[in-house]
Symmetry: D2
Amino acid sequence: MNVSFFSDLLSSISERGRGLIGFGRGDEPGRASVADLVKLSHELISRRGEASGVALARIILDRYSSLPQKDRFAFLIHIAGDFGSDEAAIEHAIDAYRKTPSRAAAHALHDAAEPKSQELIRRLNLAAGGTLSLVRLREDLIDLFQTLRTERSDAAVAVESLDQDFVHLFSSWFNRGFLVLRRVDWTTPAHILEKIIRYEAVHEISDWDDLRRRIAPADRRCFAFFHPALVDEPLIFVEVALTTEIPDAIAPILTKERDPIPLKAATTATFYSISNCQRGLSGVSFGNFLIKQVVEDLCREIPNLKSFVTLSPVPGFAGWLAREIRSPEPTGIRPEDRELLQLTEEPEWFAEAAMAEAVRKPLLAAAAYYFLRAKTATGRPVDPVARFHLGNGARLERLNFLGDTSAKGLKQAHGLMVNYLYDLDTIEKHHEAYANLGVVTASSAVQKALKFEGPSRAVPAAG
Amino acid sequence: MNVSFFSDLLSSISERGRGLIGFGRGDEPGRASVADLVKLSHELISRRGEASGVALARIILDRYSSLPQKDRFAFLIHIAGDFGSDEAAIEHAIDAYRKTPSRAAAHALHDAAEPKSQELIRRLNLAAGGTLSLVRLREDLIDLFQTLRTERSDAAVAVESLDQDFVHLFSSWFNRGFLVLRRVDWTTPAHILEKIIRYEAVHEISDWDDLRRRIAPADRRCFAFFHPALVDEPLIFVEVALTTEIPDAIAPILTKERDPIPLKAATTATFYSISNCQRGLSGVSFGNFLIKQVVEDLCREIPNLKSFVTLSPVPGFAGWLAREIRSPEPTGIRPEDRELLQLTEEPEWFAEAAMAEAVRKPLLAAAAYYFLRAKTATGRPVDPVARFHLGNGARLERLNFLGDTSAKGLKQAHGLMVNYLYDLDTIEKHHEAYANLGVVTASSAVQKALKFEGPSRAVPAAG
Amino acid sequence: MNVSFFSDLLSSISERGRGLIGFGRGDEPGRASVADLVKLSHELISRRGEASGVALARIILDRYSSLPQKDRFAFLIHIAGDFGSDEAAIEHAIDAYRKTPSRAAAHALHDAAEPKSQELIRRLNLAAGGTLSLVRLREDLIDLFQTLRTERSDAAVAVESLDQDFVHLFSSWFNRGFLVLRRVDWTTPAHILEKIIRYEAVHEISDWDDLRRRIAPADRRCFAFFHPALVDEPLIFVEVALTTEIPDAIAPILTKERDPIPLKAATTATFYSISNCQRGLSGVSFGNFLIKQVVEDLCREIPNLKSFVTLSPVPGFAGWLAREIRSPEPTGIRPEDRELLQLTEEPEWFAEAAMAEAVRKPLLAAAAYYFLRAKTATGRPVDPVARFHLGNGARLERLNFLGDTSAKGLKQAHGLMVNYLYDLDTIEKHHEAYANLGVVTASSAVQKALKFEGPSRAVPAAG
Amino acid sequence: MNVSFFSDLLSSISERGRGLIGFGRGDEPGRASVADLVKLSHELISRRGEASGVALARIILDRYSSLPQKDRFAFLIHIAGDFGSDEAAIEHAIDAYRKTPSRAAAHALHDAAEPKSQELIRRLNLAAGGTLSLVRLREDLIDLFQTLRTERSDAAVAVESLDQDFVHLFSSWFNRGFLVLRRVDWTTPAHILEKIIRYEAVHEISDWDDLRRRIAPADRRCFAFFHPALVDEPLIFVEVALTTEIPDAIAPILTKERDPIPLKAATTATFYSISNCQRGLSGVSFGNFLIKQVVEDLCREIPNLKSFVTLSPVPGFAGWLAREIRSPEPTGIRPEDRELLQLTEEPEWFAEAAMAEAVRKPLLAAAAYYFLRAKTATGRPVDPVARFHLGNGARLERLNFLGDTSAKGLKQAHGLMVNYLYDLDTIEKHHEAYANLGVVTASSAVQKALKFEGPSRAVPAAG
């Protein structure tokens, strides 16, 4: 009942949302100059904004969105420049703090140093539908920052600082406590499903039939986080296959020809695709919470599940390997493997069984090195997907040779896929070992693939 | 459909909420010492919190709520003391800022000076039901601050600073853009209605029949703001009577014996009661937004409505008048009226028509002075309800002699009630005049009641 | 999602419903004469009804409901008289059937003999809200029949026949497959709860606090059947107490002072009140389905439940016993008990322990006879509640001396209450034994209470 | 709120529904013989059915649906044969009726002649999901009847009689008062939309993009009737285009390339496709109610709408015309037109402007005759779509030459489409004229197309 009460409750949001799109808007927003918008923005954080904030915010956001990109960029640069903090107030607060460095004085300093842009963003959010408009505006800001990033101009620095304001406020507003997990299935409204198709970033969804195969069968699941203020917009979603063992290839999961397994037979939940949906929310992380919540919920729904793993791409592997192969003194591959590994650059190399078999061992050895030894400048694994899952406390469970022979899979990783294992009991320990010491926890099988290269590279198993 | 999708969506919140209250919680939380909780709080904002934040936050909030008040206070004092900002980081940021006082440097200073308590609060909000727990915790903090406020101890100052962290974050989280307006009527779930009965702060709701009379008839409305993370908890609500004229007394509105008017006959919407519901959200204001939204919605629903007024109490009047009467040199009343005004201290003075009639003019004159001339130290009207409505841009429309002859109405204002008028076209102008210049906008009738006292006090009409 | 889709779906019903009550109805229905309504009814089942049935049906039902009772009765008598079947058609069908008594000919005869009133009722149901209007109309019909029942006039017979049409159609429309079971609790909308208060027929609900005690605690349940076309109207509901043993008195269940038991401790679900809500649906039985569905649902929700019993009143006992006591040759009581049993006619007899103790055995013996031996003319138990539960396949489990010492409980049964036990495994067997042979299945304890009176009355235990 | 209460309410239905499909069903239903099922059916309408009807009904329906078609047919033939009415009871009732031919006696005769199959169907409906199972079972019955229809065997007659039982009960259960109108749009759950794609019977929906173009744009509408007991299953739906004039061709409506018109510009609602969804409900008509309800709802939503028309196919025209052309003495075409009309049998005849222009007049003249003069044996128009709309009270508004040049449109009607006009003020009059006198109401333009053939055929305009 509770629920239904709130269903109604939420309806107002969407009605308001609808009002914005179609009828009842009254007059069309005329074109506004950038200068006008900046002026209105100043008013919004002034007294006038106290009286008429909701309407003013809506006007600014509407007119902003009707500007051409050039003008939107100009507006953002203005905001970044004009809506910093009050220098006199900072000076005053610094003096007070230096005199008495109390908590209260630090607090006053914190307040004084807050950029006015933060208040502006909060006030823009008064508008009906304001949150979504702000997420879209942030997309512009990211684009603008990309444009400016090469120059170290004042504008670039100010824009970066403005972007941090967004990250700060969005992190607070999209706090996990405000997110709602929803199963997405074949009874989900079409306008939501359409976005799932559009936002899928790992294994493209080719059409509605493909989507149906991923969410309708009894042994498939899809879950997404939503935020009540962003009606109809998933924030992140994960696709899950329930299987009888840890899968080593993606094709059997995505194939048209397969029979669903009975739920009672399922022992493994495989997360085979995780996609962030809102570019405007980049810098705010949901994936960690999503995976853990889904693991918890699946545990409760299907008590016979024993393993929770991913079937993940290895987006940086082919590039890294190419550099190793080209390198006169490679550290990640044995010189004697170079020739075999070069075979992977032949088209359709994997289709010939003998050739593929020859490549297998050296490639897996290189992969083991790639995951366990190769490091970024800051001492983290080279692979971004690895950093995500290891940072969540997962362990690298298995290397899957030719797990993905699609064009994309071959291009980015010569077909390699891997499984990360989420074991709720050890997540925290692994997370700490990784976060504090950079330890990459891996199964003994993965460790062994590394050892195959020679004793000199052996390491004590961390997992 | 949209709506219904989100109805489901919200259900997870409440299910999670339910899980917390009843079954399925697993083991009971044992008693925790204050020291334990402080330690867990440090862990929550550390790396461990990154891995296990949701669970950790839930544990802290659960155990906190099971502590006796003394221990809860001790915990809060610890948090206030321990979770300030990092002094070294502040010093470092000050130096950098002084070297290059850029937006970015100010931003870095802002970040460095942020009390760790803000991150702690955000992390506690990761827990399912965390927001409500934090609102309840803030109630303790307010109580604690009341206890400490007389002393200017370090602890008191730190607690006040911690309280500001809550106000800051709650203001952001309970931004109008996240609030949802809902009509409350006789089809509303009973557990919500029960809270309406409990939270009504102006004209007490005596029982369910009284409630029914206020929300069920076709010419009555009640609206409340809700927040999606605070399932079942209204934040603020307003009760509205649709009438054919501006009412001058509360009894005919609350009476058992009346026939509803047909909606087509309604010309006036009277807001006769506004109640804030959450003590833990004090300092975050909703009333302004609520009234304006309800005015908008009612305009749309019932196009024949012409006036939007309040029928408001005058909580400070009797106290102010008593001081005037006792004063050897009153400024708000004429000396010759003193005797008549003293009649209001007789029991049942108002019941005798002649006596009441004699009191009318002097009392209204005093009331006009009370609203238009009497000021606080900061130059604002003495009456808190007046400050609220005038600050919203309303105008003081009418003084109603003997508008509320209930015990409460007599005690606080000798029966006086007033109407404030919300005119959407002039709200902004009135708000600015009030905010910038302290101008109290009032109808000419109210102005005239003031003038009645003599030409020396006449003022140019502001409204 | 499904659900939410249909939530929306159902909304149209209620919106239409709302339309009927308040706005948007257009002109008020003028007064119509009975003759007009009869004429309109003829049109409704004619061709005109095919074109404009929905509107026509609405008009008839609206105007009907605005008539005074006298005219409503007159209308019903007209309908009963005018909308019988077509005699010529029957004759024709009889002839055809006699010629070839096939299934098809029987079908044709069935169709020919169908009273036109059935088609009229189906067409009236075309109107939005028609079903509820028809249920209300049937209430009039029942009242009318009560008025006429003494006379064996043609009108009375026709009205009875018309009433059978309603029972026939309502039985089909309110088929269990169309009913929806809903838990009623403290989150149920107030306008539904208000009806629960009003319709409770066994242990009166004194006010909202009393209601809250019955539906809000974790160890209490209330379930109701609803029909989608009768929005907001429960059809029947049952109140359930979860207990640790089979209760023997009602007061501890209804008391204000009690602590809920933890669900894990519950072993017994006690159905202590079942109320039909719609007088207009009398003759259509829901109770059997309700109890069995609730037993099933509770089994699933709370696996530790072992027993499902009622705590039931014995409405016919005091009357029967009075007759026995007065009888010169009683069969249900022993002559030597007569004096003791007469004590129950003293006021407050039960308050004195010794007196109550003296009455216990004879009273229980008489009760055992009342249940096991006393029979109606058709060989069924005298007690209507017993007939209901035994007919459902329950068994009489225990006689509870002084189980209900309220005024009502004393008046109707000298405080006696009983438990009936629902054991899903034996329901069918008991039902058949009762239905075919009139066997009253009872526990050995109840049998023994009977035997106590003397060997001559002993019977083989049926349970 | 009401709504949301019922949203929850309905959830039980679907949960129960879900239970049936997947988990929690307990043991798999073993294979049952036809004889077993017949036996169980007898039990269901016996005493055992009173005790355990819900479970028994579910078992019968489950096992039935798992039988191969041959056995399902055998079962249905048994039911048709065995569950007729009781001959002795009929004889008895006939005698009683002949003795006293009262309403009551006719009622008793009606009851006696009721085939037992009706009670069986009602009892099968006790099962959760029973209604849908019965609708599916009726599909078998229709198939069986098709198989048997050539023979006039006893079995065939009995099966037809059984089918009438279904039509009778379904007509009562799917009474318009129980139907719920729902808008179908892009926020509708995918599993519902999938059925819209599947059930579209007029202008095939090629894929999800096509569907989106029909339901998502602001100037398109789709409405469907649902029944609460048939969760997820539309019964009938209509697709509507909002336009600025009465459209004369289907292609511009279905095209990918078009800009939606603003709602304010819409003056006409065009119903361009109506599809029944449930073969098992054939014989129960919804279309009439659907169109009228949608007209009413659109009137309310978009007050500027002035005309409600269809854009309809003419499925029987090409066949009829071919017969005319072949006929030595055609009545519907002029002999001198024969040659020109034969051109329509050329492939792509319509693509050449001159040829098409030559065909226009004779073809429209023939069409006018087809609609206004050509009659079935029972004196109705030859065209089934015409019979439907004229029977609803619409008027034939316009003949559209080359309105549908798709393969289907050419094949069935040489591209001809027509508009029927729904004018709420004249619907009833037209319906009566059509129903009583067979009058085909048509616009003067259509009349004129007929007159063009020569004065001898002129008729007084009926519209």
